[in-house]
C-alpha cells in the first residue's frame, strides 16, 4: 500500500491534538457556498479519515460505512460547529464516536467463537521490547539493527500486526498513537477506567513489538542466533 496520496490530497500532519475551542458561529449565506466550504475541508482529510476507520474496523467495507456515516452526520450538524478552525478535530471526533457506538453495540451481542469481546489480560507480560531485541550484545557486532529494521518494515507489515491485535488492544493503541487522544479521553470514549486504558496500551505495545520482531526474523530483516551469520 502506498503512502503517497494523490496531489490533490496533501497528507496532513500525523499528530494532531483535537481540542475544542470556542469561536464565533459560522454563517452560510447560500446552500452552494456551504456545500463548497464543506467539501473543500473534507477533501484533504479523506485519506486520513479512511485510514483511521480502517485501523479501527480492520475491514474496508465497515471503514467506508463509518466514514460515510460520520461525514453525513457532520454535514447535517454543521451548524453546531462553532469554530471553523476546529473542523478537522470535530469531524474525527464524530468518526470516532460513530465507530465506538457501533463497536460497543456489536460487543454486547455474543461473538461467535471469538474471544475478542472479553478483556484480554491473561498471558500478557508487558515486558517484551523490540528495542532490547535489536540491541542484544551479540548483535552489536553488526552495528545497530534499527535502521535495517525500519527500512525493511513496510506499512502493510505494520497494518497486519496492528490488525492481529485483540480488538480492545487495537482500538486503544489506534486512539492514542494514530489519533492522538489522551488516556483520559480514551477512557471516556470507551467507558473504561483510566487504569484499563494504560494496561491495554502497555499490552498492545508489547504484543505489537513481539509480532514485529517475529516478522523481522522470519523475513530475514535482522540477524539472529542460528542464522550462522549469513545476514549482515
Amino acid at each position: 500500500m502506498s503512502l503517497a496520496g494523490s496531489l490533490d490530497h496533501p497528507r496532513p500532519q500525523p499528530h494532531v491534538h483535537y481540542r475544542d475551542a470556542t469561536g464565533a458561529n459560522m454563517r452560510f449565506d447560500e446552500a452552494a457556498s456551504r456545500r463548497e466550504w464543506f467539501e473543500q475541508r473534507l477533501a484533504p482529510l479523506m485519506d486520513r479519515l479512511y485510514g483511521t476507520a480502517l485501523r479501527l474496523t480492520r475491514n474496508p467495507a465497515d471503514a467506508e460505512d463509518i466514514v460515510a456515516e460520520a461525514v453525513t452526520k457532520a454535514w447535517t450538524q454543521l451548524d453546531r460547529l462553532r469554530d471553523a478552525q476546529c473542523f478537522e478535530g470535530w469531524l474525527f471526533h464524530i468518526l470516532t464516536n460513530t465507530f465506538v457506538s457501533e463497536w460497543r453495540r456489536r460487543r454486547c451481542r455474543p461473538q461467535p467463537g471469538g474471544d475478542d469481546a472479553t478483556e484480554p489480560s491473561e498471558l500478557d507480560s508487558a515486558s517484551f521490547t523490540l528495542f532490547q531485541q535489536l540491541h542484544q550484545p551479540f548483535l552489536l557486532w553488526w552495528g545497530s539493527l534499527e535502521d535495517q529494521f525500519f527500512n525493511g518494515l513496510l506499512q502493510e507489515d505494520l497494518e497486519r500486526a496492528l490488525d492481529a491485535l485483540p480488538d480492545a488492544y487495537r482500538v486503544t493503541i489506534v486512539l492514542v498513537e494514530v489519533q492522538g487522544y489522551t488516556y483520559e479521553e480514551v477512557a471516556r470514549l470507551l467507558g473504561v477506567p483510566l487504569g484499563t486504558v494504560r494496561s491495554r496500551l502497555n499490552r498492545a505495545r508489547c504484543r505489537l513489538q513481539k509480532a514485529l520482531w517475529e516478522h523481522a526474523r522470519e523475513a530475514g530483516m535482522v540477524y539472529h542466533e542460528g542464522d550462522g551469520g549469513t545476514q549482515r
Binding site: 500500500m1 502506498s2 503512502l3 496520496g5 494523490s6 490530497h9 497528507r11 500525523p14 499528530h15 491534538h17 446552500a31 456551504r34 456545500r35 464543506f38 467539501e39 473534507l42 479523506m46 485519506d47 486520513r48 479519515l49 479512511y50 485510514g51 483511521t52 480502517l54 485501523r55 474496508p60 467506508e64 466514514v67 460515510a68 461525514v71 453525513t72 454535514w75 447535517t76 523490540l130 528495542f131 535489536l134 540491541h135 534499527e146 525500519f150 518494515l153 506499512q155 505494520l158 497494518e159 496492528l162 493503541i173 489506534v174 492514542v176 498513537e177 494514530v178 489519533q179 489522551t182 488516556y183 496500551l201 502497555n202 505495545r205 505489537l208 513489538q209
Partner: protein, 85 residues
C-alpha cells in the same frame, strides 16, 4: 524550576507517558533533561518515537474512489431534499 535528576529506570518507566504527552510540563522537562545527557535512554526514546510515527502513519490510506462517490451522492441527496436553515 530546576530539573529533577531521574534515574534511567525512572525515565524508561515514564517514556511512553512522555511520548504520549501525558506528563505535565515539569515532568516532561525532567525527562528531556535526562535524554539530553544519557545516550542509552536517548537511543531508546528515539527508537520508540520512530516506531510510534510509523504506527501513526498507518492511519493514512488512500480513500477508494467509490467512497468519494458515495459521499458526493449522499450530500447531493441532502441538497435535493432542500437545505432547511
Amino acid at each position: 524550576m530546576s530539573p529533577r535528576a531521574l534515574s534511567c529506570e525512572e525515565v524508561i518507566e515514564r517514556l511512553f507517558d512522555y511520548l504520549d504527552r501525558e506528563l505535565d510540563p515539569q515532568q516532561a522537562a525532567d525527562i528531556e533533561w535526562h535524554l539530553q545527557r544519557c545516550h542509552d535512554c536517548f537511543t531508546r526514546a528515539e527508537f520508540e518515537r520512530r516506531l510510534r510515527d510509523r504506527v501513526a502513519a498507518t492511519g493514512t490510506v488512500k480513500a477508494p474512489p467509490r467512497l468519494q462517490q458515495r459521499i458526493r451522492t449522499l450530500l447531493d441527496r441532502f441538497d435535493e431534499s432542500g437545505t432547511r436553515q
